[in-house]
Symmetry: C2
Subunit: 339 residues, 2 copies
């Protein structure tokens, strides 16, 4: 049965001090790990034993009021679906922050932008914030700093002048994909832009596809489609009848590429003989379908590590002497059998 809450009964640091037979200042020194406070190990152990016995939990809000900031680091949830890349980033960031006495929390609102977003994040008085570039303006970053946020790290398509940015360029994926297909001799290609949740990254990748196709003098067909076998089959059947069909398709990601493999086979076309298919992400799926999928690999683990390294570098020298070196992140084609 749910207990009726009893707010106000929570033990205070005064209770801890009484139980341990020390002053409240000593309790505060121990709990905040104040360097040079000259607390003996025996005293520290007594305080920690009292904390455990009483079930004392410091109040992050009260601490933030005293210090002007809390020990929280806020990651603003990105708008794209959660998956392996974000999971890896959160895992690495959490461990690195824990070593510094900081706690990673994810702010669940995916929609707020600009000053509205900054106000919502600032309510938590975090030490640092990671967010997508498109959610922040120069004014909103300024507002965060005014509220005691010491470090703001952005991630996005392009670097911005008002905060350190880790660049993750969707557009570059489209360029790398088309460069590969051009090298393979393709002169007529199709590119899929997903409808629905993935439309936005799809558009960004397509910008790169358009640029690279122009560079190579490649004829380009854009296909907007949902993740749906019926839609893929209709497309494939159209191509089966067309003399001037594309000889390769850039399929946005590995799932769409696998969908196209199935639809092309169902329409009587062979891969890569009639049409080559190129995915993105290098997921385990690539090895499981027939023919095995060629793909553009994004190295999300090394990207996550790089992202965390930049964040820690900035946190460690909080008042910033310039930007850390932010390395470029280049996608690479993994060749298998489909393209």
């Amino acid at each position: 049965m749910p207990k009726v809450p009893r707010p106000g009964k929570a033990p205070t640091s005064a209770d801890v001090a009484r139980a341990a037979g020390v002053s409240r200042t000593t309790v505060s020194f121990v709990l905040n790990d104040v360097p040079g406070s000259g607390i003996s190990d025996a005293t520290r152990d007594k305080v920690l034993a009292a904390v455990r016995k009483l079930g004392y939990s410091p109040n992050a809000g009260a601490r933030a009021l005293r210090a002007g900031t809390s020990n929280l680091v806020v990651y603003a949830m990105p708008r794209w679906p959660l998956g392996h890349a974000i999971d890896t980033l959160l895992e690495r960031a959490r461990d690195a922050l824990a070593e510094r006495g900081l706690v990673l929390i994810v702010h669940g609102d995916r929609k707020l932008t600009g000053m509205d977003a900054a106000r919502a994040w600032a309510e938590l008085r975090p030490r640092a914030i990671l967010a997508d570039t498109w959610r922040c303006t120069p004014e909103s970053v300024e507002l965060l700093h005014q509220h005691g946020v010491q470090t703001v790290v952005l991630v996005g398509e392009e670097s911005v002048p008002y905060a350190p940015t880790v660049v993750f360029e969707q557009k570059r994926i489209g360029v790398v994909a088309v460069d590969h297909l051009a090298e393979q001799g393709h002169r007529r290609i199709a590119a899929i832009v997903p409808t629905g949740d993935l439309r936005e990254p799809g558009e960004l990748r397509y910008v790169g596809v358009v640029e690279a196709a122009a560079d190579h003098g490649i004829e380009l067909a854009r296909v907007d489609m949902p993740f749906d076998h019926g839609a893929a089959l209709a497309l494939a059947r159209g191509w089966a009848l067309a003399a001037d069909r594309p000889t390769a398709v850039f399929a946005y990601n590995d799932e769409f590429a696998a969908l196209m493999l199935r639809a092309l086979r169902d329409a009587g076309l062979s891969v890569p003989g009639d049409i080559a298919v190129l995915g993105v992400d290098d997921t385990p799926l690539c090895e499981l379908v027939t023919p095995r999928l060629s793909t553009v690999a994004l190295h999300t683990t090394s990207f996550a590590e790089m992202h965390v390294r930049v964040l820690m570098d900035l946190i460690d020298r909080t008042h910033g002497d310039g930007l850390p070196l932010i390395p470029e992140h280049e996608p690479l084609v993994v060749r298998r059998d489909s393209a």
Copy 2:
């Protein structure tokens, strides 16, 4: 370039009151949406305009100190990899909480349990907490309530007596899978338990497999394996040579099922003729592989909706008159071609 932070310069509610020409009490009534406070629309608009102009963000910590609790709802990040199910849960919960003026945040620590976990979550003085059952004890739930947490909702394999629990039974998946294979006439089956990150849910599903196999008098072989084509191929080759090989394999999830499809074909075995293969999750992958995958569907969207409904029901009648009705959640087999 990163701005040097200027803590302490953040506008206060007194600044807002001055700019709007109203009292601080009026500002507080407007910002906290206090019912029956008799604020006119004109005054409310003046206050909100001043809030925007000054870039004022209320301090969640200060609010929590006054009220004994904050407007935060903490979701303790589960230990299993983030994916579609958790994404859906977060999305639905965020919207439902926002309607109630509450903010969803995800606590990034996946490892803390018991009193350590409760103390870490309590630091944020949240209004409500969602967590996995295995992370909580009766004492830790008590500690949360003492710190003003009004609602604690757990999710786990079994209901517990000390907090409302939404049951999501991994074991039941194993039972449903084996019941299906038994109905199809299989008397010798293999079940995969993944090594690595997915081992724990794999063990829970296997408990159900063992129980159902005993009920049906089915001969059972347990296979512990990583997600790796080499390992799958070695297994499949062994089966190709064995007269008493299993006639069906329960493959933990759709990815493992697809891996086995490929390995069995590479070893010269046909599916489902030589060996049937059953996955779990009903992912899009099921339609993309050959033969199309039969699977146990978990209805994660309806589970997420149910979970959120229980949470909101508890939040809406905060001081609880009994538990809401928590419906059972039954996995179902989706039959395609592989089993």
